[in-house]
């Protein structure tokens, strides 16, 4: 991952948190596209009295600060007043957006909270899994209604998983499947796993049967030590398959682990089982 991509992903994460917006995880744009298009600028109107005009991060709202000239800086109190006023305007424009109010300054977690609405009984509402993707892309109000429904429900929130869409989940499932499929390929291909005598894993383990990943870690009598699944994969690669053991980070080893575990979905974990 390049540094620029990291920046982009970071920005995406910030966006998705701001306003509790349910962002669709589209494939990360290629970094070149970032260079090619100029980012939109917020052009604020010019004050006819030469006052300072402050633009809001939504790219639309702005506020003329009376008594402060362009080029002068705001005091801390003035700045706080300006941002509060901008926020109020924005909320009026976007009544359905769900904006978590900033905690009052100085109140850290675990300390006495500002008075809040009493918790309603829990369990009456399920957490939203995020709304459908809106036509026209993500707006300030995307997903806001779902979040509002949850307001006041006695349920833990604030983590990222609650804010993803079905499409996100489909993308995750597909990526996982791709990983497993790659494992299937390696498992069924003697050459891919580095075998020298045309013996592949599936020849003794159709559908990864009798690989019993659920029994590891366990004391492997024949090795005289405690083994993990990957130790046994490598043992098989070295012996019946007559290849070279794979390094821990080898993508083929990781993919095979993925495939083997996937085949045992639903099997009870019983590490140490004989």
């Amino acid at each position: 991952m390049t540094y620029r991509m990291k920046l982009w992903v970071g920005a995406g994460a910030l966006l998705s948190f701001a306003g509790g917006v349910a962002l669709a995880t589209s494939p990360a744009p290629r970094p070149e596209s970032l260079q090619a298009t100029e980012l939109p600028r917020h052009k604020v109107p010019v004050s006819k009295d030469g006052n300072l005009v402050v633009g809001m991060c939504d790219g639309e709202t702005s506020l003329e600060v009376k008594g402060v000239k362009e080029g002068q800086s705001l005091t801390r109190e003035q700045a706080a007043r300006v941002s509060a006023e901008l926020m109020e305007t924005w909320l009026k424009k976007n009544p359905d957006a769900n904006w978590d109010p900033a905690p009052p300054p100085g109140v850290a977690q675990g300390q006495k909270q500002a008075p809040q609405q009493k918790n309603p009984p829990m369990g009456t509402q399920k957490p939203a899994t995020g709304g459908d993707i809106r036509e026209g892309g993500v707006t300030a109000e995307s997903g806001g209604k779902e979040v509002r429904k949850e307001a006041g429900v006695n349920i833990q929130d604030g983590h990222s998983y609650g804010a993803f869409t079905q499409r996100d989940e489909a993308v995750w499932a597909a990526s996982t499947q791709q990983f497993v499929d790659e494992g299937h390929r390696v498992f069924h291909d003697a050459a891919a796993v580095g075998g020298t005598i045309a013996v592949s894993c599936d020849m003794c383990h159709p559908d990864a049967s009798n690989t019993h990943p659920e029994t590891y870690p366990k004391y492997q009598v024949q090795l005289g030590r405690v083994a993990l699944l990957r130790d046994m994969i490598n043992w098989c690669i070295e012996n019946p398959v007559r290849g070279k053991p794979l390094a821990d980070g080898d993508p083929r080893l990781r993919a095979m682990e993925a495939y083997i575990y996937a085949q045992r979905k639903g099997t009870k974990l019983e590490y140490g089982k004989k």
Binding site: D207, V221, Q222, N239
Partner: protein, 372 residues
């Protein structure tokens, strides 16, 4: 590879082998002394001896001397020697086994899957090795022999894949039960690709095994000439019943084939392909699987016949464990006691009386380490 890692089980058997080997060299007094000290080992030994395959004939001990015996070698899955010598060592071990039988078996059944990928080099190598079997060899075809050239070379080497013969009052029928409906033409697969797919047990692209209408008709004609009281033994590579479809432990037209055998009083089916200790009975038909010399298959996750006593899980650290060959003792009744000669383990006999009694009599030794 091989001998660097030995399981405790394997070591244990090796020690016992050495012990009994040593016994042979002792005089009688020394024998009694050692035997006294080692009573525990002897008691725990069961049928085990270094030459157990030939020395232990329980049928004789029980006074139910067989009419005759035949041996088998099955599922050798040979690659050419320059690619893989492991499976070649295994078939040679099996040939040594059957050649060492005393008395010699009336014939040796080869159970199919001689080759791994149907290559000429593999089939010819197998044919060459089997020439060193002293007893006459009866050949059967497996899917690994067939799907590269649809049996062309196999037929050149060994003749027709389905035939029948009579031996000492028993009627034998040999089937080609690995036919598959065409899955390759529409997909435009090359013969090699077709073979590779069939060779993958868990490859779902292929069709299910079947005997097929034409061969069933032949079988019907053949059996029409046989008295219904004559014992019938059928050799089939696929199990001739429905065990586990995804791995082709399965014959699609098994019901139709079983119907043809129904009028006969005593029928035994001996099959390959499943590479495991496998027993079943459906009405009048008893079924026995054969061991492979190349590798054991795990038991399928479902569908295992109730009468099957699983063989213990094979030890992957021992090349030969879970593999082997065996012998069929055809009893006076015409039914079969099936001896599994599991290499590096105690042999196991699955008796006709066990299957006939629905598991009530003569149960084989219990499984200690079943499948996961």
């Amino acid at each position: 590879m091989g001998n660097k890692f030995r399981s405790i089980e394997t070591k244990h058997y090796e020690e016992r082998d050495a012990f009994f080997e040593g016994l042979k060299r002792l005089d009688r007094r020394a024998f009694l002394r050692v035997a006294g000290m080692s009573a525990g080992i002897v008691a725990g030994m069961g049928l085990r001896s270094p030459q157990s395959f030939q020395l232990v004939n329980v049928a004789e001990a029980q006074g139910t001397k067989p009419r005759f015996s035949f041996a088998y070698i099955s599922d050798t899955h040979l690659y050419e020697q320059k690619l893989n010598d492991r499976f070649i060592r295994s078939i040679l071990k099996a040939v040594d086994d059957v050649n060492g039988l005393d008395p010699q078996p009336d014939f040796v059944l080869f159970g199919g899957d001689l080759a791994q990928l149907g290559q000429a080099g593999e089939l010819k190598l197998g044919a060459q090795i089997l020439k060193s079997v002293k007893a006459p060899v009866r050949m059967m075809v497996g899917e690994h022999d067939w799907f590269l050239d649809m049996g062309e070379l196999w037929r050149d080497l060994f003749g027709a894949p389905n035939y029948s013969f009579d031996h000492k009052g028993v009627h034998f029928v040999v089937l080609n039960s690995i036919h598959e409906k065409d899955f390759w033409t529409e997909r435009k697969l090359t013969p090699k690709e077709r073979m590779q797919i069939v060779a993958g047990l868990d490859n779902g692209i292929q069709s299910r095994f079947e005997v097929g209408g034409e061969q069933r008709e032949w079988m019907k004609q053949d059996l029409a000439k046989v008295d219904k009281k004559t014992p019938v033994i059928v050799f089939s590579h696929s199990p001739l019943y429905k065990y586990y479809r995804p791995w082709n432990f399965w014959t699609d037209d098994a019901d139709e084939v079983q119907a043809l055998l129904k009028p006969f009083e005593r029928v035994t089916v001996i099959h390959g392909h499943t590479h495991q200790l496998l027993s079943n009975r459906i009405n009048n038909i008893q079924f026995h699987g054969m061991l492979s010399t190349a590798w054991p298959w795990p038991y399928a996750p479902e569908g295992l016949p109730q009468l099957t006593v699983q063989m213990n899980r094979p030890d992957p650290f021992s090349q030969f464990d879970g593999c082997g060959d065996g012998r069929m003792d055809v009893l006076e009744s015409g039914l079969v006691d099936k001896l599994y000669n599991l290499w590096e383990r105690n042999p196991i006999t699955v008796r006709a009386s066990y299957l006939a009694s629905g598991g009530k009599q003569d149960a084989p030794p219990r499984t200690k380490l079943p499948s996961y």
